[in-house]
Amino acid sequence: MSAAPLLTTSGLTRRFGGIAAVTDFSCELFPSEILGLIGPNGAGKSTTFNLLSGFLRPNAGEVWFNGSRIDRLRPAAISRLGLVRTFQHNSLFRNLTVLDNVLVGATVSTRTPVERLRLAEATIDQFDLLPWVNEPAGSLPHGRQRLLSMAIAFATRPRLLCLDEPLTGLNQTETAKVLEIIKRLRSDRSTAILFVEHNVRAVMNLCDRIIVLDQGRKIAEGTPAAISRDPQVIKAYLGDAE
């Protein structure tokens, strides 16, 4: 791609005690790209996510997003610049209604209450959550909760949406539904998506590019087709999946 990258990391390193969770991680992500981050358990995917979104500070390295250096910023400040993430757990507000959940997501991206309500309703529709609009989030089926947490993040109008294992723990129907929605976002091309996922087939189908992590290091990067042929990747990750 020729455009300037939206996100650039260089030499990103994070240690916990003596253990290096992420070592010398460098990558680029371009506007409206869908980038997958995969790797076996303990590969450092979640740590990388936390480093990018400000929930962890790196020991070394830099993160640049849309022209600003963000690796010393707080999560809320990073989010306001347009890099917004979800979590694997507790990524929504259980006791609030679906509408209230998304309204909270739209706090920073809108100026007036009318505008906020309009954006929230449009987002709820986009994520096919209209039938539950006044239900408490905690009472939703599992798959819909996952969609809701994405809707909350999406209501911030992010430039880059980071999804932390959006498919984990979902059954086949639910997985299909979430994938359908991500594809819809993808066809809009309004926002770039970075996602960490265990479901290899989903990653291969959706992503423009994939980065493979193993033991805290990037071992491969490329198109899904290239990744699936990479011997190192097969050894580290796909091998034990088959």
């Binding site: 999560p75 400040a77 917004v84 979590f87 507790n90 929504l92 209230d100 909270v104 706090t107 911030t156």
Partner: protein, 308 residues
């Protein structure tokens, strides 16, 4: 009848009854009880507002005392009229909460509860050591210069209630309830959690300061012992017994427990036992408080209504 309509009607009825007692009943004892109840309602509402964001703010006792001492000092030392003295007491409590919150709201949960508890106790000890504030014997002669002061207290309580309900149901209220559910997700959507909590503490403390200021003038006498840690602990009990999920719960809990306390006043210091028992029984048999109990009754009544 809808849930909200039922509870607000109930609160409205209590408000009118309290106001009528203050204006029409000549027995000063009844009026004094009403005023004491109203002040406790304010304290409980202030404490509940921080509970919305998920923090137990036992500092409301300290800010209540700060309001009381500020208003008392204004009246006794400078002869400032009641209303500006109350305004000053409220303001001082609110302003004092900002540096306190800025430092302490970095911690949450049990830690914040303990620090806020310490604040209340430290302030009480400061009053006992200050000669200007009357030391252990406190301050006397804090007499309001306006008639019908008890009625004013009740009206201010009603206004406080309305303002807090408005805050809770505004977008700000939505964000603070979201923080109670998932702090991380609130940060992830770009909202500063410490600033929001600080704002919450400010509101809670302004309310406590207002209650304290009016307490000083209603009582005309204050002493450090009035502002110990039991004050916020009782307020917490009122909120829990009344039920936390609706603002009217704090009102109900306070009113019911205050009436009970008056009935067993002969027991002296043992009324604390009554509160302990009430809390244990509430936790066991109605964990959602009176509100939870009435919610169930309302749901049954409504389902019967639709079945017909």
């Amino acid at each position: 009848m809808s849930r909200d309509k039922f509870y607000f009607t109930l609160a409205g009825a209590l408000f009118i009854a309290a106001l009528a007692t203050c204006l029409l009943v000549r027995n000063p004892y009844f009026v004094q009880v009403i005023v004491w109840m109203a002040l406790n309602v304010i304290l409980a509402l202030g404490l509940r507002f921080m509970l919305l964001v998920g923090e137990v703010n036992l500092g409301v006792g300290g800010f209540f005392g700060l309001g009381a001492y500020t208003a008392g000092f204004c009246v006794v030392q400078y002869g400032i009229p009641a209303l500006p003295a109350i305004a000053l007491g409220t303001l001082v409590a609110g302003l004092a909460s900002l540096p306190f919150g800025y430092i302490t709201l970095r911690v949450s949960g049990h830690y914040f509860m303990l620090i806020s508890f310490a604040l209340t106790e430290v302030l009480r000890l400061v009053y006992t050591q200050s000669k200007t504030l009357g030391g252990n014997s406190g301050m006397v002669g804090i007499i309001p210069n306006i008639p019908a002061f008890p009625a004013l207290v009740v009206v201010m309580t009603g206004l406080t209630f309305l303002v807090l309900v408005y805050c809770e149901r505004s977008h700000f209220g939505r964000v603070i309830r979201a923080i109670a559910d998932s702090e991380a997700m609130v940060r992830a959507v770009g909202i500063s959690v410490p600033n929001t909590k600080l704002m919450c503490l400010l509101i809670s403390s302004l309310v406590a300061g207002l209650g304290g200021s009016m307490f000083a003038l209603a009582n005309t006498v204050i002493a450090p012992g009035d502002f110990g840690f039991l004050l916020p602990v009782f307020a917490l009990a009122y909120v829990k017994i009344g039920g936390q999920s609706h603002p009217v719960g704090a009102v109900l809990g306070t009113v019911v427990m205050s009436v009970l306390a008056q009935l067993v006043i002969g027991l002296g210091a043992q009324d604390t036992l009554l509160f302990g028992a009430a809390i244990v029984l509430t936790m066991l048999f109605m964990p959602e408080g009176f509100i939870g109990l009435m919610d169930r009754v309302l749901a049954r009544a409504n389902s019967r209504g639709t079945a017909r």
